[in-house]
């Protein structure tokens, strides 16, 4: 447990402007018994209907592989409180760039907006393949509350909790919310639209203003920077240098490992990465809104 806390601390100190620790980190052991039963069934079931010859044929020709064996781990601690079965919630406050009351969004060709209408959001997903088979297992949202930056994260520890996660996130949006994202118009928003549709829930993103920072960043710095990824923007504009950052490409494996009974260590690193993304989003927005000219 000490080691875990140490790791958690390490992640948050990676940010240059030190943040307070999560308000109340609660470590509960994940309710994983139904999942383990499922694994046990999987191991014995196939013999009952598929003959060994057919199996051999399928294995030979359909490139059937055995999935990577996941080592069962005792490190099963996912931060936050369980607000619905299989859905964990964390909330933390950061003292982070004081925003101007009115954000001048003309750089993004939008009307000025009061900062308390802004909701920064970023999802962590099971992959980049797209289509109906890709899902978000974590939604992070940031906003300014009384001058402090609040970071809320929803994490799935079971797949069945997806509807609860989508409903909770929908409740965070109000009529006059303006969403802020990095490439969210092309990635996060369509992905969530698909998930809301599959869950037969109304899509709360429809009709909301959406400020996607990727496009204005590209317009300004496309020719100066080697690329316009968020990590580049935060380094160039905010001086943020991440340490021990889990690359985004490893996020799917981190969650999958946890889901299959493995260690939660990398899943916690995903949460830290997601929190940093939200802070950087807010930082980049403030910098762009206050840029001269």
């Amino acid at each position: 447990m000490r080691k875990l806390r140490a790791e958690a601390g390490q992640v948050s100190t990676a940010a240059p402007n030190a943040l307070p620790q999560p308000a109340k980190p609660t470590f509960l052991s994940a309710a994983s018994s139904p999942r383990l039963h499922a694994l046990a069934d999987t191991a014995t079931a196939p013999e009952r209907a598929i003959s060994p010859e057919l199996r051999r044929l399928l294995q030979r020709h359909a490139q059937l592989r055995r999935g990577p064996a996941t080592l069962l781990s005792s490190d099963r601690e996912v931060p936050g409180v369980e607000i619905a079965p299989g859905l964990r919630y964390t909330e933390e406050f950061a003292d982070w760039l004081t925003p101007p009351a009115i954000i001048d969004a003309t750089f993004a060709r939008m009307e000025p907006v009061h900062h308390y209408h802004l909701l920064y959001f970023d999802t962590e997903t099971t992959g980049l393949a797209g289509g109906t088979g890709t899902r978000a297992f974590m939604i992070g949202a940031g906003d300014w509350i009384d001058g402090r930056f609040r970071i809320r994260q929803l994490t799935l520890t079971t797949m069945a909790a997806e509807a609860a996660m989508l409903r909770t996130f929908a409740a965070w949006l109000s009529e006059d919310t303006v969403l802020v994202s990095y490439n969210g118009k092309c990635y996060d928003a369509p992905l969530l639209a698909t998930r809301y549709r599959l869950a037969r829930l109304p899509n709360p993103l429809t009709g909301r203003g959406h400020l996607d920072l990727l496009h204005p960043v590209r317009r300004h710095w496309k020719h100066q920077w080697e690329n316009c990824r968020l990590a580049t923007a935060e380094r160039q504009l905010l001086g943020v240098v991440r340490e021990d950052d889990l690359p985004g490409s490893e996020a799917p494996a981190a969650w999958l490992t946890y889901l299959r009974g493995g260690s939660a260590r990398n899943l916690r690193r995903v949460a830290a990465h997601n929190a940093q993304d939200l802070k950087s989003l807010a930082g980049v927005l403030v910098r762009m809104a206050t840029m001269p000219g």
Partner: protein
């Protein structure tokens, strides 16, 4: 080149004045009586009409009248009634019988009345574009406000969103449904929520492996529809096949109302079966089919008749086009009268050929099977087939491209030297009386099923004991769970992998990538054609003459890995013909058992197709003027097979000569192949047969006389030393890379297959053998009086099979 083979003087005997199909048939019959082995007429029909239905929306009725449609054909009215009653409908009528109106009327009416949406599926993009053009014309005629779009690989990204939201009729193909629409169904939510009709045209093309895939795509479509709470009505259309209703029901797994009587009037259809004259009586050699096809087409064009020539290969299309162009297009100042049409041309070139034919600005098209489907090229008078297309159904489909309402049409089948062709023209009654082939699919073929359960799980999670088609999906889901692409939680199976499974599944099994042909003449770098993977080895080897619109290009370099062939324009008086052959080797035997005096096996085999070289053949004289080597990787296929063998001692006791045993094996292979194709409901081309040595040292192919010819591993004819081991083996193998799992069920039914083959041959009416049992046999065998030694191919095949019958 100096002498053209035909004397034009004789043309005039045939061509006194332009006529119709009947007069041309009569003239040809008179002039070439000896070559015509069969002539018959499919009588035309009076039209059978019905008034426009009263419950048709008035604006639609008005649009129809504006376009000159005052009444319907009876089958169109029947289709209207059947769809109004809510049934799934299958319409089976010939080409040009106004099939599309059968689905256009209910679809447009529902779109106008209820904002209902429809999905059309066509097997090719060209057909989809035709259909949208037709819908737009009707729409314009009545200002109906119905929006129709094609949605295929060519649809630009920015148009897709609008099509998803606003398309009333979306015209696509099964591949797009499989790879782009279903895996993104949430983007199509509004479309699916209002989906009323699914129209699937040309369903006879959805057979075999392709059809089995499409049936599974339809299962996935129905599953997604259920998610959106709709159960659309299916309207299917088919060309004539033996089992249209059964096939339609197999595809959509539901009962359909079949409408099979066409009410469209047709003129008489004259059919001639044409055997090229014997040119060398000593060797029994006949003139080439090509020369005869050329002659018939020339006469038809000179009689002012719009002509379509079908050739079996792309290179033959080019050769025939060149010959006809030499006669009709020798003046470069005049617009061309002859065009070639085949896969491999760029789409815009094909569209131009279709348009030119429709508008009547050209007189003839030479095509591969690409024009067999209902691509609109207007009305034609004469269809000439250079060789038998391989099935009765395809022959009638091709003949069906000719025909006008009031005027008789002509179809001529010119036999090649292929034994099957020769059999057919000798037996016109076989062709005349034959029922068209049955279309068969096997959607529950394990590998295909697994692929589509994988795709379906990506689209929507499986819950509980959900059925997929006719099977409970659970065992398959377990398998995918083990692979790590699905995650089971309680009774739900959810997709978890970072992959898009539909991309890895090709419905048409041609996933190996097309070759592009790059013209480098005078420093150009222009792509002038595409060739699909399977044809590349036999058409794009270095040195090959690649004909394009009858202009010869020489292949200078073939980049096999990069899938590119670099060619330059050349001027030669020859074309090239690849020499290719196939051999088989057993890799692994999964299982074996006794089969009479011999054994039956099931296992994995290695099939090699090799192109060792090519021949240079001079235009017109067709003399062989040289060989060239080809240095290409063998095309290899790992697949599964079932095979039968007899021990040498048994064979030596049963046959006086090894040749007889080989002939017997060839005949047995043919019968087993026919029976097996039916048994696993495969397309004949999905399952292949081969006869070879058990150790892969040699294989047997039928020579021109239908007798077994031993060939060594280099493809050259060999003689076997008298003391060499002799274990002929008959193989039936899956013709697709990786196999499609047909051999295991065949092995399980091995005794049944042998028994059925025996009864197939015994019950066949032929005396010595025919394509319906042991394969085509030479005329000499056929005329043989009852032979006490019983060495006809039929008797020899029965002798082999008798040794394999279970004791």
């Amino acid at each position: 080149m100096n002498t053209l083979p035909d004397r034009y003087a004789t043309d005039d005997l045939v061509l006194r004045d332009p006529g119709d199909g009947r007069t041309l048939a009569q003239r040809l019959s008179k002039r070439y009586a000896a070559r015509i082995t069969g002539a018959f007429v499919v009588p035309g029909r009076e039209g059978s009409f019905a008034p426009l239905p009263e419950d048709l929306p008035p604006a639609l009725a008005h649009a129809l009248r504006t376009r000159g449609i005052e009444q319907l054909y009876r089958h169109q009215a029947e289709a209207w009634q059947a769809t109004r009653s809510g049934a799934h409908v299958a319409i089976v009528t010939p080409t040009a019988s106004g099939k599309s109106l059968c689905y256009t009327l209910p679809v447009i009416s529902a779109a106008m009345r209820d904002k209902a949406k429809a999905l059309y599926l066509f097997p090719t993009k060209a057909l989809a574009q035709d259909q949208v053009a037709e819908l737009l014309e009707l729409n314009r005629a009545g200002e109906l406000g119905v929006k129709a779009f094609t949605f295929d690989g060519d649809t630009p990204g920015d148009a897709r969103q609008a099509i998803r939201l606003h398309g009333d009729v979306v015209v696509s193909n099964p591949d797009m449904l499989h790879q782009a629409i279903l895996p993104h169904h949430t983007k199509w939510a509004q479309f699916f929520e209002n989906l009323c009709y699914v129209v699937i045209d040309e369903v006879h093309t959805y057979r075999g492996v392709f059809g089995s895939h499409v049936a599974n795509v339809i299962r996935r479509l129905k599953r997604v529809c259920a998610f959106y709470g709709v159960t659309p009505q299916f309207i299917l259309c088919s060309a004539t096949i033996g089992n249209p209703q059964e096939h339609a029901e197999a595809l959509i797994e539901d009962a359909v109302t079949a409408i099979t009587e066409s009410g469209a009037p047709t003129g008489d259809q004259h059919v001639l079966l044409w055997n090229p004259p014997v040119v060398n009586p000593d060797l029994g050699l006949r003139a080439s089919a090509r020369s005869q096809t050329n002659r018939i087409a020339r006469l038809a064009i000179k009689s002012g008749m719009k002509t379509l020539v079908f050739a079996q290969s792309r290179s033959m299309v080019e050769v025939l086009t060149k010959y006809l162009k030499d006669v009709f297009d020798h003046d470069p100042r005049q617009p061309p009268r002859i065009r070639a049409y085949r896969g491999g041309y760029l789409p815009k070139e094909r569209r131009a050929a279709e348009r030119a034919m429709r508008e009547g600005s050209i007189d003839a098209i030479v095509s591969t099977s690409a024009l067999e489907l209902g691509v609109d090229i207007g009305t034609l008078d004469v269809v000439v087939l250079n060789g038998y297309p391989g099935s009765v159904a395809a022959t009638w489909q091709r003949f069906g491209r000719a025909g006008r309402r009031q005027q008789s049409a002509l179809g001529v089948l010119v036999a090649s030297s292929d034994p099957l062709d020769q059999y057919l023209v000798r037996h016109p009654e076989f062709f005349q009386g034959a029922t068209p082939e049955h279309a068969r699919i096997q959607p529950d073929q394990p590998l295909i099923l697994l692929d589509h359960i994988r795709c379906a799980a990506f689209e929507l999670p499986f819950i509980g004991d959900e059925m997929f088609g006719t099977e409970v999906a659970t065992p398959w889901l377990d398998l995918l769970g083990e692979e790590g692409v699905l995650h089971r939680e309680g009774d739900r199976w959810e997709w978890i992998a970072d992959s898009y499974p539909a991309i890895a599944v090709s419905l048409r099994s041609v996933a190996d990538g097309n070759f592009v042909v790059v013209d480098r003449t005078d420093g150009r770098q222009t792509i002038i054609a595409e060739v699909d993977y399977s044809a590349a080895a036999v058409t794009l080897y270095e040195g090959a003459i690649h004909m394009l619109q009858s202009l010869p290009y020489q292949v200078e370099r073939l980049d096999w890995e990069g899938r590119k062939a670099y060619v330059t324009r050349t001027h030669v008086d020859y074309y090239t013909d690849a020499i290719d052959y196939t051999k088989l080797k057993v890799l692994d035997c999964f299982d074996s058992s006794h089969a009479g005096c011999g054994r039956a096996h099931h296992g994995e085999v290695h099939v090699v197709r090799r192109v060792p070289g090519y021949k240079k053949i001079r235009f017109y004289s067709h003399e062989n003027i040289g060989y060239g080597p080809v240095n290409l990787p063998d095309q290899e296929l790992h697949t599964t097979a079932v095979w039968w063998q007899l021990p040498q001692a048994v064979l030596e006791a049963a046959f006086e000569q090894r040749q007889q045993a080989l002939d017997g094996f060839l005949g047995a292979a043919c019968a087993l192949h026919i029976v097996a194709t039916v048994a696993v409901m495969a397309e004949a081309c999905d399952l292949q047969k081969s006869v070879g040595s058990g150790d892969g040292a040699w294989f047997v192919s039928a020579d021109l006389r239908g007798r077994g010819q031993l060939r060594g591993s280099d493809g050259q004819p060999v003689a076997l030393a008298p003391d060499a081991p002799f274990t002929p083996t008959v193989y039936l193998y899956d013709a697709f890379p990786g196999g499609i799992g047909q051999s295991e069920p065949l092995f399980q039914r091995r005794e049944d297959l042998v028994a059925q083959s025996v009864s197939l041959i015994e019950r066949c009416d032929c005396r010595a053998g025919c394509p319906a049992c042991v394969g085509p046999v030479p005329a000499a065998d056929e005329q043989a009086v009852d032979d006490p030694a019983a060495t006809t191919p039929k008797a020899l095949a029965l002798r082999v099979l008798a040794l394999l019958v279970a004791l």
